[in-house]
Symmetry: C2
Subunit: 376 residues, 2 copies
């Protein structure tokens, strides 16, 4: 194996590949990146228990003198590439044992492992993929993933449910205290599916999509889903189990509707949250919202040890319906508000002990729901 390539091209591909490296693994070979040098292109592969990533490099700066393959120490190789200041780097293999990296006046030698020792990773891109714009996929992740559960008590809730049914793509996440739902049109030419993608995989996918603006092809396989874009294959395992039917917990009738300036509401809730009682067990920051008879909205919090906070908000439009007093975890509201693109949001109340729903004019396909807390 001998090849040379522009350093920034190599670094770009490593910045993608590193998302597939395990944080911790009982299988040392997975700490490595599998590098295969063919006649006219390179293939990099990294994988952990959740994710497998492969990139194919056939950049015009690439000059391949002889093919070969090896598993190279992942984090060391990446750290070296980040620290090198050189236009080109030359990489070669000595006796399948040492990789030599030459750049400017530096020379690094890294012990490698046999490519044969790397577990087989199948990237399954057969069948007809679902094609989505990268920005649509990024929006789905941003707007739903935050509402997944961070705890393993109900594993199925640690992922986002994507369901294709009746020309629609339903994207839902819930930790059973809050819910985020985005519904997009999706042609019935595609087969119907119902999958749950782990939240951590979606975080990594979102970062990998950061600078991507083209289309993404999504191949759904048993237990796995593969995203294919540019020169990248990103595959993640799916969560086992049946995702709960969440549509039925969304109230149908909302006797009280209040419109807010999103930033004003967000900042007010963040300010009064400073004095929210912090219960370590459930990380609740309890904030109360009170629609007064004069239709001014009060958000407030009380901390018996420290003090209390109250702030008045003038709604952005006439309040519809009777007055109400409701309490909730402030983080559930601020997280939801941050997911909106709209400057104005409406909060739709079904009653003091029923879930309330947030919608935004610029986000017609999106709905966020929060369960209130019962307080004395």
């Amino acid at each position: 194996m001998v090849f040379s390539i522009n350093q920034d091209v190599l670094l770009d591909t490593l910045n993608v590949i590193q998302r597939g490296l395990p944080v911790k693994t009982p299988l040392p070979v997975l700490n490595g990146i599998k590098l295969e040098v063919f006649e006219d292109h390179l293939v990099f592969t990294a994988s952990n228990t959740d994710i497998a990533i492969q990139t194919i490099v056939s950049d015009e700066s690439l000059v391949i003198t002889s093919p070969g393959k090896a598993v190279i120490p992942g984090r060391y190789f990446i750290e070296i590439m980040r620290k090198i200041v050189s236009n080109r780097v030359e990489i070669s293999l000595i006796e399948n044992k040492m990789m030599v990296i030459k750049a400017d006046r530096s020379e690094f030698k890294l012990r490698v492992m046999e490519a044969e020792d790397y577990p087989d990773v199948d990237f399954l891109d057969l069948g007809k993929p679902i094609v989505l714009e990268a920005k649509t996929l990024k929006a789905i992740i941003k707007e739903t993933n935050y509402a997944t559960s961070q705890y393993e008590k109900r594993p199925i809730l640690t992922g986002v449910n994507l369901k294709h049914e009746d020309d629609k793509l339903y994207c839902v996440a819930t930790d059973s205290y809050r819910l985020s739902q985005k519904i997009l049109p999706l042609s019935h030419d595609y087969e119907s599916f119902n999958i749950v993608i782990p939240n951590r995989s979606l975080d990594e996918l979102s970062r990998t999509l950061d600078s991507i603006n083209e289309e993404v092809s999504m191949f759904i396989n048993p237990n796995k889903v593969l995203f294919k874009f540019r020169n990248i294959l990103f595959q993640t395992r799916l969560l086992d189990g049946v995702y709960p039917d969440t549509l039925r917990i969304i109230p149908k009738e909302f006797p009280i509707i209040v419109k807010f300036n999103k930033e004003e509401l967000l900042k007010a809730v963040e300010r009064v949250s400073v004095l929210s009682p912090r219960e370590k067990d459930n990380n609740y920051n309890i904030v109360k919202l009170n629609i007064r008879p004069d239709y001014i909205v009060e958000v407030s919090s009380t901390n018996n040890e420290v003090g209390d906070a109250v702030e008045e908000i003038v709604p952005a439009d006439d309040v519809v319906g009777p007055i109400i007093k409701i309490a909730f975890n402030s983080k559930n509201l601020t997280d939801a508000l941050k997911a909106f693109n709209s400057n104005e949001v409406t909060i739709n109340f079904a009653g003091e002990i029923k879930p309330f729903v947030i919608k935004g004019e610029l986000d017609p396909d999106m709905l966020h729901l929060i369960l209130p807390l019962r307080i004395e």
Copy 2:
């Protein structure tokens, strides 16, 4: 107590005062900030076991309606001030039990403690102070503090030694593996002194001096030193004990002198350090420096498990003296290089097992010394 003031003025003073709040304290009242409102000014005080800070506020935006005093919950008060978006804030006290903060449409109430419960803090500004430019004091801290010991084994080494003797101010720090020394002229009109200031206090002082460009008055008292600048009093305890005589460990003769471009040397050492063996016990990143017979300098590292790295550096000037091979902790060299303003530095070698000394043309008053490591 009733007063109002511009929010940014209050926030500026709180950003200084917070450096005096304890991270942890057995004395709950110290988590508070003592606020005293006089006829025409405010006094804020915070203190912990190391540091005490006081600021006096008599800004033109300040309107005092009635005096008073209380101890207010420090971190809550600061967090509230940071989140408020309002031109002015109004602060008042209800029955010496609750402080009310009004800003725009928000109102916060915080439980306060009695000012009498706050321990007395004496800020001793008697006698003739040593007057230094803030930028000089900041430079002393930046160039020496990094070399102090982070371990409590020899407590005296966790501080910077400031010694006034023979018209000179000697500033020295060492962790017994490296040493930083800065010598400045200081008039013999000042009394001589020999003190050791804790490194953490200097870190906080440096941050407090961040935006300060005026003169700083330094009052040296038994066990304490007080820095007075602008409207701020910053007092810290001193370390007990006798600082070691470090001058005698600095070699006098340097048979080998090599001049380097600082950035080139720094980056090369950082690159080869990627493969330095990491010993957790002493945090050594061993790097070797080798002056070859052709007077090219090689820096290198070897990691038995991963591989090795070598980089060539062409010295910035003719090498004086015989060839040499020396090993050292790379962090000691990179920390030292970062303290220099000079673009070119000379490394002065006294021998393979003797300390070597780094100097810079633009930093004539500064000297950094590093002990080599013995390797096989």
